[in-house]
């Protein structure tokens, strides 16, 4: 396995590569179609290079373990607001997730509805394109419109346009307290309506998720509130009032239990170790219950992002897009056997003009087609 220690070495290796490369960070997120190619690990490009708590910015080399970044932030009472999903339980992988990997798949957790996705926190990148040219974009300041925003383009590009060597992130203060407000026994449509009501209040709900009965035993609709202690207590009370039309709400304030519940939702733990394929649907929240109703018999679903993100677990080999028919939004196959991921498009097929632009971009940034070829279809 190639393992460069500097960006210059990385550039040299890519420039001199004789064939396809399979880019690896911590190796915990094997998402996409299977890639044949020589493994190139960026784990050697590691370390936080700049952290200014007063400016809410952190810069780290792409191979830096997320755990190291989270520890550095915790020491200053700060955090990554996009709470990146840890894919290990769901995908059955081992290793240390890296910040570059989180960026490459745009891994974003339940706080997406309030604080944005990974791409929203990403303010700068350095990467090596498929020609072996080192390129920077963005920087270390959170307001920057100087030139095109290739930072966003790199987030979620799965290493197909360039290999990340360094990323800059906007971070946020950690909170003093958190609480979960839960309403029980709602059907999916009522639950999504309740989440819309909660997210429409001024109480700064930082997450809203629904675990239907087949997943949770009893259907539970959860809302998270975060902030200063007194503030969380006040908002929890007001939120319970606002949710009264949907039933009595309970409030959990134990920090450990609140954190564990949301980490479980973030990491889709209910589907960890089960045998089915797992799809990720990004939809208009109010469309979600209708789509879930169209899932094949025996499927299970989890709603996050107020219904805007649906995790669906179906029988192995199911072509979920065929089962659902056309819908506004997109479906990504996150967990399946290699044969299924090779047979079905992992990413949602794009309209022809966009597919042509995507191909054009790859031709510009990776003219030899050696960076994770085919991983995005």
């Amino acid at each position: 396995m190639m393992r460069p220690e500097t960006e210059a070495e990385l550039a040299e290796l890519v420039a001199g590569a004789g064939g396809p490369l399979r880019v690896v960070g911590g190796g915990t997120r094997p998402i996409g179609a299977p890639v044949a190619g020589e493994a190139l690990s960026v784990a050697g490009l590691a370390g936080v290079t700049l952290y200014e708590p007063g400016a809410l910015t952190l810069v780290a080399r792409a191979g830096t373990p997320l755990a190291e970044i989270e520890a550095a932030l915790a020491a200053e009472n700060q955090r990554l607001a996009f709470e990146p999903m840890d894919h290990r339980a769901l995908l059955g992988t081992e290793g240390a997730p890296t910040v570059g990997g989180a960026v490459a798949v745009n891994a974003s957790g339940p706080r997406r509805v309030q604080a944005g996705a990974c791409r929203d926190a990403l303010i700068g990148v350095r990467f090596v394109d498929g020609r072996g040219v080192a390129i920077k974009n963005g920087g270390r300041v959170m307001k920057n419109v100087t030139g095109y925003d290739l930072v966003k383009l790199m987030a979620g590009s799965h290493g197909t346009l360039g290999i990340l060597s360094e990323v800059s992130l906007k971070v946020l203060p950690d909170v003093e307290a958190a609480a979960t407000v839960t309403v029980s026994e709602l059907d999916d449509a009522r639950a999504v309506a309740a989440m819309a009501a909660g997210l429409g209040t001024p109480f700064e709900v930082s997450a809203a998720a629904h675990l239907p009965a087949p997943v949770a035993g009893t259907a539970r609709t959860h809302f998270r509130l975060e902030g200063f202690g007194a503030s969380v207590a006040y908002r929890a009370g007001r939120l319970c009032d606002a949710l009264a039309p949907f039933g009595a709400a309970e409030t959990e304030t134990d920090a450990g239990r609140v954190a564990d519940l949301w980490a479980g939702i973030r990491d889709v733990r209910p589907f960890a170790g089960s045998g089915g394929d797992v799809w990720r649907l990004s939809v208009k929240p109010s469309d979600a219950p209708g789509l879930v109703a169209r899932l094949p018999e025996g499927a299970r679903a989890i709603y996050d992002w107020g219904g805007g993100l649906v995790w669906a677990e179906v029988a192995p080999g199911t072509d979920l897009r065929a089962a659902l028919g056309a819908f506004a939004g997109h479906a990504t196959l996150i967990r399946a056997r290699e044969a299924t991921r090779a047979a079905l498009p992992v990413f949602h097929p794009e309209p022809a003009p966009l597919a042509a632009i995507a191909k054009g971009l790859r031709a510009q940034f990776d003219p030899r087609g050696i960076l994770n070829p085919g991983v995005m279809g």
Partner: protein, 481 residues
């Protein structure tokens, strides 16, 4: 600032191009009378003017598509224009270009409170987006100073920010979907009511691309529930270093104010003379605003004032009412108007790491003496987005050039300390030729390669963003082709 020479071969086919454009939209929507095209000769960077060959005001995505297809076939450059409020010359035409104005595209297409979105035509003004949803208790977060006039299309082109983006982010963080017309007339839908993109992050790429990749005709925007309330505290300090340290301490304490605004003494004095807001005469003034219920606001403000007291403020004024809040904001909101009363001014918007604030302010002061031009600083301190206002006299020969040289030096300083040339105004023509101070050739080439894919003929807003010399081969290549 150098502007490219118009292409005589394009000018010579003006009549045919205008005639063809009139076939695809109402005749009155195609403007080619030289007295009328003068209305489009500049944007808010008024020092540079050039009337376009023609201006068109299409009324639908279909008309935009048809017009772009014609200009593509004829090889005519197109300069998209929102409300013309760009401070960077983003909508400045060339004599051989067609201005594509979106003024007629101003309808609200859909409001959806359950999914917290609004879909509008892109010519709608920023403030009127909030206006369409505020009765239901919602608002659209990005709030550039020009929000009364500026259009969503321009906000998307420049990825506009505003005073409240420390908490709510800028345009790119609040944009969920667009209808985009490519230069060849192809219409594509990017995103929609869902929260994340399929495939590459097209929306992120389009946002801030200064109208060089496509023309946005419709946008789906995220709307947010209005906070229960908001109140500011005003604090004055003896030095900008102390004010900067206070900002850092507030952020490190875990408070995330919705806005942290900074003004220096020249700015305070000018606004006092103009608006009489009752500001203290001190070196540095901060306005910090927090949101929430009355009790939550009290709690946050008491934490903030406790931090401020540790920095020996010369003034500390917590707002206790809407009236007091309005008075605290009065001076800040009239700052630009106040400076305009004194003189002509140039407004820069470089961003710096917050920690570099004292150094940068000191250096700007020194340069002000060297150039013999006054400068006032007012800016968003929480995110380091500076707004130095350089005063000059447009009627005095050489003053504009001196002012531009001073401005360029300030922006180079911003880059030197780890920041960037522009935080929210965009590059346009204004900072085009400074791009090489922030980016290496390979960095600029990577960006131009993106334009090569979306607009291979380099017809959309071609002479912007990139140094003219760097883009010359690509721009003239299309004519040879």
């Amino acid at each position: 600032m150098e502007l490219p020479e118009p292409d005589p071969s394009i000018l010579s086919k003006k009549d045919r191009v205008v005639e063809r454009l009139r076939e695809v939209m109402p005749a009155r929507a195609v403007i080619d009378d030289p007295t009328e095209t003068r209305a489009y000769e500049c944007d808010a960077l008024t020092a540079y003017r050039c009337a376009p060959m023609a201006a068109i005001l299409p009324g639908s995505t279909e008309e935009v598509s048809a017009a772009l297809r014609i200009c593509h076939e004829e090889g005519v450059p197109v300069v998209p224009r929102g409300a013309g409020t760009s401070l960077a010359g983003g909508a400045l035409p060339t004599a051989d270009s067609v201005i594509l104005g979106v003024a007629r595209l101003n309808a609200v297409l859909e409001t959806d409170y359950d999914n917290r979105i609004i879909r509008v035509q892109a010519g709608r003004t920023n403030l009127s987006v909030t206006g369409a949803v505020e009765e239901e208790g919602f608002f659209y977060a990005p709030d550039p100073s020009s929000q009364l006039a500026c259009a969503i299309s321009g906000n998307i082109a420049m990825n506009s920010g505003g005073a409240h983006c420390l908490k709510y982010g800028v345009t790119t963080n609040n944009l969920l979907g667009v209808t985009l017309v490519l230069m060849d007339g192809t219409v594509v839908e990017l995103g929609g009511a869902h929260l994340d993109a399929a495939g590459y992050d097209w929306l992120g790429l389009i946002c801030g691309s200064e109208g060089q990749l496509g023309v946005v005709t419709e946008a789906t925007l995220r709307i947010l529930p209005k906070p229960e309330g908001a109140r500011p505290v005003l604090m004055g300090f003896d030095s900008s270093e102390v004010a900067g340290a206070c900002v850092a301490d507030i952020i490190k304490a875990g408070v995330l104010p919705v806005a942290i605004e900074f003004m220096d003494r020249p700015c305070i004095r000018a606004t006092e003379a103009f608006a009489h807001a009752g500001y203290p005469d001190c070196e540095a003034l901060l306005i910090v605003e927090v949101e929430g219920s009355p009790a939550e606001i009290d709690a946050q403000l008491s934490l903030i004032t406790e931090i401020a007291r540790r920095h020996d403020p010369v003034e500390l004024r917590e707002s206790g009412s809407d009236e007091e809040s309005a008075k605290i904001w009065l001076g800040r909101k009239s700052a630009f108007g106040a400076m305009g009363q004194i003189n002509d001014y140039m407004c820069l918007d470089g961003t710096i790491p917050v920690s570099a604030l004292p150094l940068v302010l000191r250096r700007i002061g020194e340069m002000s003496t060297e150039y013999g031009l006054d400068v006032a600083n007012v800016f968003h301190a929480g995110d380091g987005n500076m707004h130095p206002l350089i005063l000059f006299d447009a009627n005095k020969p050489g003053d504009l050039e001196r002012c531009e040289a001073f401005g360029a030096d300030i922006l180079k300083l911003c880059v030197e300390v780890g920041g960037c040339l522009t935080g929210e105004h965009g590059v346009g023509i204004e900072k085009r030729d400074l791009m090489s101070t922030q980016f290496a050739d390979a960095d600029l080439d990577a960006q131009m390669r993106v334009k090569d894919v979306f607009d291979p003929g380099w017809l959309l807003n071609p002479a912007k963003v990139f140094p003219l010399a760097a883009s010359a081969g690509r721009r003239t290549g299309r004519r040879a082709a």
